[in-house]
Structures are given as C-alpha cells and as structure tokens.
Assembly symmetry: D2
Homo-oligomer: 133 residues x 4
C-alpha cells in the first residue's frame, strides 16, 4: 500500500487504546499476506471440488481480515485477537486440505504455501498485540 495511506492509518491508530505502539511494518506485511492468500485461494477454488469450499471460505476470511486491519478505528485489541485466531484457523484448514493434493496439483501447492505465509503473518500481529496489551 501507498505510504500516504499507511501514514493515515498510523496516525489514526495513535489514539486507540493498546494500538499506539503497533509496528506498522508488521501490519503491512499481514495485510499483504492476506491479500496474496485471498488471490491464491480464489484461483485454487476453480480447480477441484475437494478443496474449493475450504479455499472460498479462506479467501473470504482473508479479505475480511485485511479490510479490518485497514479500518482499525472499528477494532479493539480483543476483536483483533479473535479475528486473527479465525483467520489462522481458516488458513490452517485450507492448507491441510490443499496439502493433500499438493503432489499432483501445482496450484494447490501454491495455495497451501500462501495459507502458511498468511498464518505466520497473522501470528506475528497477534504476538505484537499481546506484548502491547
């Protein structure tokens, strides 16, 4: 995202309880990972029926997570933690499913890797919030 946008987000977060000390680069990395995971899951959802529902659910959750991070004015530390846990759970579920056909589908393999990266990025934000609160 553009630096102007990040600055606006950062400024708004200064006044939120427990958010002032957020490292914006950790949030930025998480938003990027959510966006990449949504895209990988969306493509993967067209390939085979066995993983399509998990991929679509994960795509929707990643988009919702990304948007929530871009609208932190409407979040609390508690709702952020619950959302991150849900996003991690959906990425885990989709990754587990896609890993079962990773050997014969390059798309599923890529999708599973995007899920793993998104999980890791969400965990990093969760760790940051836990330290701050």
């Amino acid at each position: 995202m553009d630096s102007t946008m990040m600055e606006a987000m950062s400024k708004d977060m200064m006044s939120m309880p427990g958010m002032a000390t957020m490292d914006m680069s950790v949030l930025q990395a998480c938003m990027d990972a959510c966006s990449a995971c949504e895209q990988a899951c969306t493509v993967c959802s067209t390939q085979m029926m066995s993983c399509a529902p998990a991929c679509m659910n994960c795509a929707d959750m990643c988009n919702t997570m990304m948007r929530a991070m871009m609208r932190m004015q409407g979040m609390t530390p508690a709702s952020m933690m619950a959302m991150l846990d849900a996003c991690i759970a959906m990425c885990q579920t989709c990754m587990d499913e896609c890993m079962e056909h990773a050997d014969h589908s390059e798309v599923c393999k890529m999708c599973a890797q995007s899920c793993k990266a998104c999980m890791d990025a969400c965990m990093a934000v969760r760790d940051m919030i836990m330290k701050a609160t």
Copy 2:
C-alpha cells in the same frame, strides 16, 4: 433459505466428523441472523463516521460467517469455533459503538439490536458444536 438447499447442506454434513448431529434449524437461524446483521450494518455505515468502520468490519465478518456455514464442506469443528468467536467479537464491538448513539439515532439502535441477535445466534451454534464434539 429454500428447503431444497437446506436438505443438500444437511446431506453433505452427515459425512463430516462432529457435524452429523447438527440441528439444521439452529444453523438456519444463525445464517439468517448473519444476513440481517450484514444488512443493518451496511445501512448504518452510511450514517455517521464514529461507528462506520465498526459497522463495515462487522458487515464483512457476518457475510463471511454466513457463507462459511453454507460451505460446511470446507469447515472443521475447530475452524467453526474460531469463526463463531470472531463473529461474536465483531458484533460485540459494533454493538458497543452503536449503543453510544442509540438515543439519537434510530438506525444505530436497530443496528445494535441486529448485532445482539447475531451474537446470540452464533452462541447457539457454538453451544451445539461444543456438545457434539
């Protein structure tokens, strides 16, 4: 939702671990509450800046929750629990915000009531899954 659709969903859930004993009417009530809450939050998000971000975040989460319940093939009991917790947290956050202007905004009051109904419906599904697993 149409009974044909509910039957298809019910049949698919029979084979899922921990899902076979689900009461479809509890799920149906939750999907309806999520849909109603998404709609109330979407209208409310156009009324004043103080609650708009919370309303938009809640609308997105309610839609994602509803869709996940319609695509149970891509869910596990664990991911369902995490999603329900996140949806409850978002409804709580939005309700708290909208209740602050419920006295002078009928829309915020209605939005807060939709959030409360959605929280209750999600808790009922959560209780059902906890008993089944």
Copy 3:
C-alpha cells in the same frame, strides 16, 4: 429489512438527483432477491465444478449489488444502471450454466430459479430509474 432502516434509506435518497421518486418497495424487492441469489449461489458452488466458478462470481456480484443499493449515497443514476446491467449479466451466465444440470441436480435448479428472480428484480429497478431520469 426493518422499516426503520428503509425509512433512513428513503430519507437519504430524497436529496439525490434522479432518486427522489424511487419506489422503495421495488428497491426492497431487489435487495431481497440479490440476498437470496447470493445464498443460493453460495450453496450451489459446493456441488460440482462445472458451475462453481459462475456461481461464486454471481454470489459476489449479487452481494455487491445489494450493498450498493443500501449505500445509495455513493451511487449515481449512471453507476446504478451499469451495476444493474452487470448483475443481470452475471445472473444470466450463472442461470445458463446451472440450467444445463437442472435435470439431475435439484440445487442447480433452485440456483437457476434464484438467478432468474434476481434478474427480473434488477430489471424492475432499471426500468424505474429509466423512467425517473
């Protein structure tokens, strides 16, 4: 949707060029048809790979259309017309696809009927806007 919400929407639309004479019941019927179509398409997208991508695309467009009608402050008559045309086109595409397996899939049959109802409801709104502008 609740009558309080409809009143708020109606009041806001009074000041929009070309929107003042809108019949709210026609809009309401269209929002309901979009919501029902999104739900039918979401369930149908889990059943077979041949129609899943069309169903998912249609579900997303119906949700986007419904939300836009709930946030008319951000619409113009011209953008409304383009959105309605796109929603009609996506419903047509999904209906055509699902009709091909309507004989052996009750879910596809129901999905096609929801698409048809949504197309008709969008056309009614389009006719209303054309007369008003």
Copy 4:
C-alpha cells in the same frame, strides 16, 4: 500473482470461446489495479462521511471484478464486458467524489488516483476483448 497461478489461469482460458487470445499481462495488470483500488478505497472509507459510501461501493466492486477475472471459467465475453463497465462506472463515481476533497485530504487524493488507474486497466481489458470477439 505467482506465475504458477497465472499459468493455470491461462491454460483454463484456452478452451473458452473468445478468450484464447487474451494477453495475460493485461489481465494481470487489471487484477493488480483492482486489488490496489479496493485497498485505497477501504482506507479512504474511514476518513470522512461524504465519500465513504462511494468508496465502500467501489471497494466491493473492485474485489468482485478481481475475483471474476481469477475465475474466468465462470465468465463469458458478454458478462466480462458488463462487469468491466460496472467497475469503470464505480471507479468514476468514487473518483469524482474523492476529487472534491483532494485539496485538503491526501488520502482522498490517493484514492482518486487508484480509481483512475483501475478505470484505465479495466478499459485496456475491455479493448482487448472487443478486438478478440
């Protein structure tokens, strides 16, 4: 997006009427512009009430457009054209609104620029389809 994903998309499009000759780099640029525009609009929707509804509507449409391009199996040349027209109309509406406060809001200025870039990218895809069909 990852090259593996683009290859899978490209291969699937080979069999679609009127899609075989698509230049994937033009599609890729459009998906990227839709994603960037969704993000800019989402951040901008938290800043002031005057443009928030237009920004939210535009964010939803850009996301729906991006996903449709990632699920071309569910599109026809005709539905692609209608979707592109709708996305262009929503970007135009949001840009017009945000340009009115671009002088005193850096976020609105950035949002308007993202809308313009997304419009241009959609027009490039539209031109490509018109030549191919």
